[in-house]
Symmetry: C2
DNA sequence: TTGTAAGCGTTATCAG
DNA sequence: CTGATAACGCTTACAA
């Protein structure tokens, strides 16, 4: 591995082109178009190419007071939903010339991450709902876009979580189910609350009620979903259909069904929410409500960048909600004719 | 959202503490211990606390010629294996005071990413095997640690891929299988080649051979695995066990079996490699070879940081290979007694 | 023990 | 049109 040489600077380029250093800067930024003669322009560009000049974005950032870097705080990369958000945000950021500083608030606290992001002069930060909750007021003094967590203090990008719940309810009701249950994560974040509310309200509108035992809270993992489903399956009469507020929970629920030797969907229907890739990899394939995770990330980044460039301060709250849609697959079917 | 105020600098702190600006720097870095009196030290720290001083890492980087940032280039975040690598690397980096600039080389080319990383003066970069292949010589002039791609030019951290193949072979042979097949991604990267070689060699040692039709190449996705498995299932006699070089491929293979109404493992055994979380979420659970992805990422980051701090240049090639281990679950079973 | 001076690689504001 | 000159916020000699 070769020792790293001192990088070439605008000064080096200037020397080779026989111009002053600031002139190089002018040419290379090309911002004020015709301010430099074609001849020197050529010479500078040639010199830069010869030397293999690479601009030092950090130095630029120091004087411009902009780092052209975005922070991205997510609670847990193991959840494919967040991964998609990250992917979407990263793509847009890269296209717009921003770097993404990734922070996973799993083993290192979100607050500490925010601190290091601050010290790196990030221009703004994209924060997931769960991390946002943990951070609270600590977000002051940064440009923030929240994902799936509307707020009256900060800008945000959200999906139509209530519609997700409603669509799930309508799908299951349409299949003739009347004994329903819900499994949600034990997190108090907006998207999950809304998925639950949308579901419950749509049921109520159809004259179906959920008692408290039909509303299970679980750890936001497959294992959590499995445990919650086990509890539901122990009930008599057992529910004929279950809506899980996330696909990970639903996948766990499917496992619980398999363990209990119940056929899906013949004995129980199971629905998820999010439509992560994994939903199509299980058998039967998981019926779910598609939430545009990657698009959420992309929009969050776009919103942040756009307002950063406009030098506006970000207006808090509610842009348009991104639509969700029903994806009916194999894990839901008609309610069983006979009772359990 | 409040307008962002000008951040407080060492100069501000100095003014408030009634000392010179460099003194503040000395105190706050605490590098040369006793060079500053306890009294002023106190005053400075107090002033910094009062003002809520946050150091500007970028400015520090400019003079130290170090950005304390690492680049991380992965081919595709949708693959949970890479996500784990990212997670591990990010954790270690954060603990060591380094930021991670995440780059996904899916829609933006790896080369472009490397260019922007360069312009941000990253101290080093962690590159996955697939991205490394795409980059090739472009990696010159940066400190590099490759993941799962041994190289005589750059440092690397790898798992014992040959052992993975061997363990898979031994497991399946031990279950009595003699008609075996292999599905690998159509990538020419070291880890996958080795998984294949280890597998084939262990079979050969047991007197079992694979003809070319028993060696399928596929896109490195679940869909690819599904297609490859379909092809294998069309053969007569059909293989009784299939080893897929990645779990994603294996999950696709399971789908193909389900579609063909074959029972796993009664009719066919399927094995994966990597042990991503999803492997436990399908029914039957996927037998696989566990590869410590998170540990790979963590070690890559640790290696990079350690050598960066030692200001050594990174020695190329082979550190110890991280061990892999067999995880026998439900998707593999005894070879069927009757032939297909 | 502390302050002064210089410089990291840029950009921005001026005169020439 | 171009070249000095002064920042940006910090670290690191060196001088006081």
């Amino acid at each position: 591995m070769p020792r790293i040489p001192r990088p070439v600077t605008t000064r080096d380029v200037a020397a080779r082109a026989g111009v002053s250093q600031p002139t190089v800067s002018l040419v290379l930024n090309g911002n004020t178009q015709a301010r430099v003669s074609e001849a020197t322009r050529e010479r500078v560009l040639q010199a830069a190419a010869d030397l293999g000049y690479t601009p030092n974005v950090l130095a630029r950032g120091l004087v411009r007071r902009r780092s052209y870097a975005l922070g991205l705080i997510v609670p847990d990369l193991r959840n494919p939903f967040f991964t998609e958000v990250v992917s979407g945000a990263e793509r847009v950021a890269a296209e717009e010339g921003y770097a993404v500083l990734l922070c996973e608030a799993r083993e290192v606290a979100a607050g500490r991450h925010l601190e290091t992001l601050r010290s790196r002069q990030i221009d703004g930060v994209i924060v997931d709902a769960i991390a946002a909750r943990e951070l609270g007021d600590a977000l002051g003094g940064v440009n923030v876009v929240l994902v799936d967590e509307p707020s009256d203090r900060w800008a945000s990008v959200s999906s139509d979580a209530a519609a997700a719940g409603r669509l799930a309810a309508e799908h299951l009701l349409g299949l003739g189910h009347r004994r329903l249950a819900f499994v949600g994560p034990a997190y108090d974040v907006h998207a999950f609350r809304q998925r639950e509310r949308g579901f419950v309200q749509a049921l109520r509108a159809a004259g179906v009620t959920l008692d408290s035992a039909g509303l299970q809270r679980a750890a936001p993992t497959a294992a959590g979903g499995e445990a919650a489903m086990r509890a539901l399956l122990a009930r008599r009469p057992r529910p004929t259909a279950v809506f899980c507020a996330s696909d990970l929970l639903a996948l766990g629920a499917l496992k619980a069904c398999a363990a209990a030797r119940l056929r899906v969907p013949a004995d129980v229907s199971v629905m998820g929410c999010e439509d992560i890739e994994m939903a199509r990899l299980v058998t039967p394939e998981l019926s779910t409500i598609a939430v545009p995770a990657r698009e959420l990330g992309a929009r969050a980044a776009r919103l942040l960048v756009r307002l950063l460039e406009a030098e506006e301060t970000l207006a808090p709250g509610g842009r348009r909600l991104l639509p969700v849609r029903l994806v009916a697959r194999g894990s839901t079917g008609p309610a069983p004719a006979t009772d359990a």
